[in-house]
Symmetry: C2
Subunit: 227 residues, 2 copies
């Protein structure tokens, strides 16, 4: 501690993305204390004395969802002096991608958590809307260069479902053939010997995400070039 210096509460706020059939969703909680009690808010919490910030984010997310090992990435740090009317709080925003099928709804209940369709969010407290806005832009960019978003689907999924996810992220229709070509050319999917017969009579092949191939892809740099 450098005692001659100012001292701040440091919080983490989590932008939690989920995907349900064909809509991108956001998990929000109702604040249980003042200021802004009962307003919709991102899930947040304070960083602990001996805790690193990533761990704090993971802990807070686990409290809310009961999930460990979810995709979690630091987004941006917000520090306007008056951003929280309850006092000066510097907040490090993280965004998370979770599989809604794995969600522990018990955990969510404790926080009056609710999923909202991304295109239809309520007013949020403080600067949380700004955080969400930055998060979706980051997610969109990321999804173009990395096969992100497998984090948002159940383990086995059809290509149509994956396409629906990308369409939800980008809020735009995609061409089926081009999409499949593109995704398959990334070479991170394994087709299973199994079909999903729920969504169609004919049945659609199920795929699984191949983490090994993915890791090799990632380590191959940022996929930006200039020569």
């Amino acid at each position: 501690m450098y005692p001659e210096s100012e001292c701040f509460n440091v919080a983490v706020d989590c932008i939690v993305f989920g995907f349900d059939d064909d809509r991108l969703q956001l998990l929000l909680v109702k604040r249980r204390f003042d200021p802004c009690r009962d307003c919709w808010s991102l899930m947040g919490g304070f960083v602990g004395r001996d805790e690193n910030i990533d761990d704090a984010a993971a802990r807070i997310l686990e409290n809310l969802t009961g999930l460990r090992d979810v995709y979690l990435e630091q987004l941006f740090t917000y520090g306007e002096p008056d951003r929280d009317p309850g006092g000066r709080v510097i907040s490090v925003a993280y965004y998370a991608l979770i599989r809604t099928d794995r969600l522990d709804s018990e955990a969510g209940n404790r926080y009056s958590a609710r999923w909202f369709t991304f295109e239809n969010l309520p007013v949020l407290v403080f600067d949380h809307t700004e955080m969400v806005d930055k998060a979706i832009r980051r997610l969109r960019r990321k999804s173009l260069i990395q096969p992100v978003g497998f984090e948002l689907l159940p383990e086995k999924f059809t290509l149509t479902r994956l396409q629906k996810l990308y369409e939800a992220i980008h809020h735009r229709d995609l061409d089926k053939r081009n999409f499949r070509k593109r995704i398959l050319s990334m070479d991170v999917l394994t087709r299973l010997d199994e079909k999903d017969r729920v969504s169609s009579r004919r049945g659609a092949w199920l795929y699984r995400f191949d983490k090994d191939k993915y890791d090799r892809l990632i380590s191959g740099g940022d996929h930006f070039e200039m020569k």
Copy 2:
């Protein structure tokens, strides 16, 4: 203030890029206090009680360089509990692009500041090397999609000089014709009726950066697409 919560020193560290003829450079200071007195370090300082973080970064940078209105962008927040052996400090890293020709060397002297060639940096304190690493990656990526780096040159410059800058940023030789085609196609440069005769007998046209065109370019989205 939320008194039931922990309280942290919050600092800003600045990764200051400059460009001198044909080398990318970094402005570093020698720490004047323990721990790690006399070690090379990024320029840093603590956030003030009623100051937002961007302003803190700008203030700290102005202390060091005497410059206002420099390009400054938040990079990442570092919060390992033991990152600073002097106490728990959460640090928000920013990177800055400055024109070395505008640098006030008086200001720098107070901090024993020195420019280092980017490819030849000294060992840095704490996690500062990690910060620098993230900053250069961000700068590289940014430079591919935005005409960043005009911030690093004097107001008037030749295309050769601009190319040298890009080569320094990417640490790679670029093809002259392709570079010029690419840069000019961005349509953010204005050719002046003036030549630089220092670097060659023939003389090279000087260009100026056109901020209006640039702003229009930026507002046109991230320059990533998916259809």
